[in-house]
């Protein structure tokens, strides 16, 4: 599979989780796998534990976990769930 390359510069993702809840752990693992596989080192993944930092959810308009937000490049995309359907995630992130 070819490397997914963001169209406009570096890929910046934020994954919102709730501690070690099973879906959050799953989403974290899936996100890391997808990024390293499709975007090599040209990405940045920020993981935000809402149990530690609930205010961030309010600021970013997150209402459930796990939620993955593609902050850059624009447009901002929200992907909700465990990120199990990797091809759909890669597509949403603008990869191929």
């Amino acid at each position: 599979m070819a490397r997914a390359i963001p169209a406009n510069g570096e890929l910046f993702l934020r994954l919102y989780i709730a501690g070690h809840s099973p879906n959050s752990v799953l989403a974290m693992a899936n996100a890391k796998a997808i990024c390293s596989e499709h975007f090599a080192s040209r990405y940045k993944l920020e993981i935000i534990d809402l149990l530690q930092d609930p205010d961030r959810a309010l600021a970013d308009g997150v209402i459930v976990t796990p939620t993955l937000i593609k902050v850059a490049p624009l447009p901002v995309q929200k992907i909700i769930g465990t990120l199990a359907d990797k091809s759909q995630v890669v597509l949403a992130l603008g990869g191929t």
Partner: protein, 697 residues
């Protein structure tokens, strides 16, 4: 659409897409947490929520299960608050009082479920429970339909976290039926115990494994032992009479082998030597291998019963011997009458000093001795002719004392203790004299080395039960006790003492008729005799005689043995079935100058009476004959010839026929055997007597 609107539409679309994705994720279970803005903890973990829900469900489930347990329990489970209001009741508890559990919550237990008369008491009890008194109590509860049940309660206090009492938890068992059963059981037990005590039945129980033996108190009493003192089979065996021990062990081992009930009569010996008769019975239980494990049984003291049976048997034996003796004596008397009569007649023809005369005198002497013996036999069998009069017993004893002193010799003292103002006794003077003499002679023979004879009289009251096995007319009797200080008698001798021909004296020294004669005389006098004796200490006979009439003056008819002048014109009808006696009497009467008509029985006599009746002055007849008896026959003659006179001859007095004829002191009666002068005296007396019918008019 301008670009701003287009952006708005795009934003809305995106949010819709996000909302849809969120719902999808929620549905597919990919969501961990939901953020709820404006709350203290805005992130609500779905997992935690679920866990909470699960734990609540589990708690509910456990509560349900606990309730099920509560409901399944066949005991009343009741929780109450401090005011004794129901806070929890299981289904069973509610069913006992006839309510639904939900109805009862909040109701005051005391006001609704306790009968009014017990409420005060219940309130005090409740205060006690709250105060910490947790003893088991029984109480009455009231059901919805007004019935009462008895409940046994166990209580515990309920406390809050701080340890403060907030109520009580009670567990109740309905014991109404149980109490009724145990009451019934107690009653049954009581009855059973009463039955055992009243019937004197003792119970024993033996454990073969431990060797332990347990006796009821009654059983211990039967053995003369203190309750609880006999605890082993061995100590029981120590009481068994040695002669009965082998039989008892046999029966027990047979019972252990067969497992069947056993029963036997045996003797036991008390610590003080008293011998008792017991009937013991029981059953031996065995294990699967047939080894005895336990035996239980009963025991009954039958000493008195055996004594009574013994006495009854003895009485029956005496009766039988009496009948036999009387039969023999009666026939023998007829023979002696013939021998003595013909000897008498021979004596008139032979010189007394001649050798034949001396021989004849020997025959007469021997015949008189034989007559004496048959007289004694008849006395024993109570068939002697009695002349019953009232006798002053004290005076009689006094009159006899000189003779008795000579009789007993110098080595023996005789003393009296006679009750003052003793009522007269009823009896035959001669026979009572014989009783005293026989008993004093018996006392003398028991004291070959000397001693004391004491004669006592007093008046006593006797009961129907005083002489077991005898017919007793209860009332006052005069008792004469004759007591010696001699060798005493064994039990066996005491038992057989009154049997004819039973003697402990050396052969030839006693006839064995003395005491049996005494017995017969006392019985014929409607009295009783008893004996008590102890080996080495002496013997006491008690003679009980009925009280006679103080006014009854004895009158003994006196007849001179002279021949009257008119006898030659007198005709006598002689009726006697025994040919020897008839021939003899006919010869005596004929040789005395009477005209004698002879008949062998009543029928022949009646024929003679029909043809020659007018000439007959006197009927001399046997009493007991085959066919028509003497008195019946005479009664018929008397209808035709009221002035006809009679003289009866017999050896019996208490034969039914003789009794019917009204024999007594006034009856013209001749006792067999008799001499010719006896006969002539009585014939003369009968001819001179006035006929009863005449006396009555």
């Amino acid at each position: 659409m301008n670009p701003i609107e287009a952006l708005k539409v795009q934003g809305l679309t995106q949010r819709l897409a996000e909302a849809e994705a969120t719902i999808q994720a929620l549905i597919s279970g990919q969501i961990d947490a939901v953020v709820i803005p404006g709350t203290a903890n805005p992130v609500l973990l779905i997992e935690a929520q679920r866990a909470l829900q699960q734990s609540e469900a589990r708690a509910n489930c456990e509560r349900d299960r606990a309730q099920q347990f509560l409901d399944a329990a066949e005991v009343i489970l009741l929780a109450s608050d401090l005011d004794c209001r129901v806070t929890l009741i299981n289904r069973y508890g509610a069913s006992v009082v006839g309510w639904a559990p939900s109805e009862m919550i909040g109701m005051s237990w005391i006001d609704h479920f306790i009968p009014e008369r017990f409420r005060l008491e219940a309130l005090e009890g409740w205060e006690g429970i709250i105060g910490g008194d947790l003893s088991v109590v029984e109480g009455v509860v009231l059901t919805r339909n007004g019935q009462e049940r008895i409940i046994e309660w166990r209580n515990t206090t309920l406390t809050d976290d701080a340890g403060k009492v907030i109520g009580a938890f009670s567990c109740g068992t309905d014991v109404t039926e149980r109490n009724a059963i145990s009451r019934a059981l107690r009653r049954t037990e009581e009855r059973f115990r009463f039955a055992l005590e009243a019937s004197g039945v003792g119970i024993w129980d033996m454990n073969y494994v431990t060797g332990e033996l347990s006796w009821s108190d009654i059983l211990a009493a039967q053995y003369g032992a203190t309750p609880g003192s006999v605890k082993s089979f061995e100590s029981f065996l120590g009481y068994v009479h040695e002669d009965d021990l082998p039989k008892l062990l046999d029966v027990l081992s047979e019972g252990a082998k067969s497992g069947e009930d056993f029963k036997l009569a045996h003797r036991i010996v008390w610590a003080d030597g008293t011998i008792r008769w017991l009937i013991s019975g029981g059953r031996i239980h065995r294990d699967a291998d047939g080894k005895p494990t336990r035996a239980i049984g009963i025991s009954l003291d039958v000493t008195e019963r055996r004594m009574l049976e013994d006495q009854l048997q003895q009485g029956q034996k005496m009766e039988a011997i009496g009948r036999l003796a009387s039969g023999v004596a009666h026939d023998f008397n007829n023979l002696l009458t013939v021998i003595l009569g013909f000897s008498d007649m021979l004596a008139g023809e032979i010189l007394p000093e001649s050798p034949q005369g001396r021989d004849l005198a020997e025959i007469v002497k021997a015949s008189h001795r034989a007559a004496g013996l048959t007289g004694q036999l008849l006395a024993f069998s109570r068939q002697q002719v009695m002349q019953t009069v009232s006798i002053d017993l004290n005076k009689l004893i006094g009159d006899m004392s000189g003779m008795l002193e000579r009789l007993i010799g110098e080595k023996i003292d005789i003393s009296h203790k006679l009750q003052f103002d003793l009522p007269p006794v009823s009896g035959d003077r001669g026979q009572i004299e014989q009783v005293i003499m026989n008993l004093v002679v018996n006392a003398r023979d028991a004291m070959p080395d000397g001693g004391t004879v004491r004669i006592e009289t007093e008046i006593v009251e006797i009961k129907k039960t005083t002489f077991p096995g005898e017919t007793v007319e209860a009332g006052p009797f005069v008792v004469m006790a004759i007591r010696d200080t001699g060798s005493g008698m064994t039990q066996e001798t005491q038992r057989r003492l009154f049997e004819p021909f039973y003697t402990t004296k050396e052969s030839g020294k006693g006839t064995g008729l003395g005491l049996s004669t005494t017995y017969g005389i006392v019985k014929q006098s409607k009295g009783h005799i008893s004996v008590s004796s102890e080996l080495g200490k002496g013997t006491m006979f008690n003679v009980y005689l009925p009280i006679g009439d103080r006014k009854n003056v004895p009158s003994v008819p006196y007849v001179a043995a002279t021949r009257s002048s008119n006898q030659h014109s007198t005709t006598i009808l002689l009726v006697e079935d025994e040919i020897g006696v008839r021939t003899l009497v006919a010869r005596i009467l004929t040789s005395a100058g009477y005209r004698v008509l002879q008949a062998a029985n009543g029928e022949a006599a009646e024929k003679l009476f029909e043809t020659d009746g007018k000439s007959i002055d006197l009927v001399v007849t046997d009493v007991v004959m085959p066919g028509s008896d003497g008195p019946t026959m005479f009664a018929r003659f008397q209808l035709k010839a009221p002035r006809l006179k009679v003289l009866y001859m017999s050896g019996y007095t208490d034969h039914p026929v003789a009794l019917q004829a009204g024999f007594g002191t006034e009856s013209p009666y001749l006792k067999k055997p008799f001499t010719s002068s006896d006969l002539l005296k009585h014939v003369q007396f009968a001819l001179n007597s006035t006929v009863r019918e005449e006396a009555a008019t």
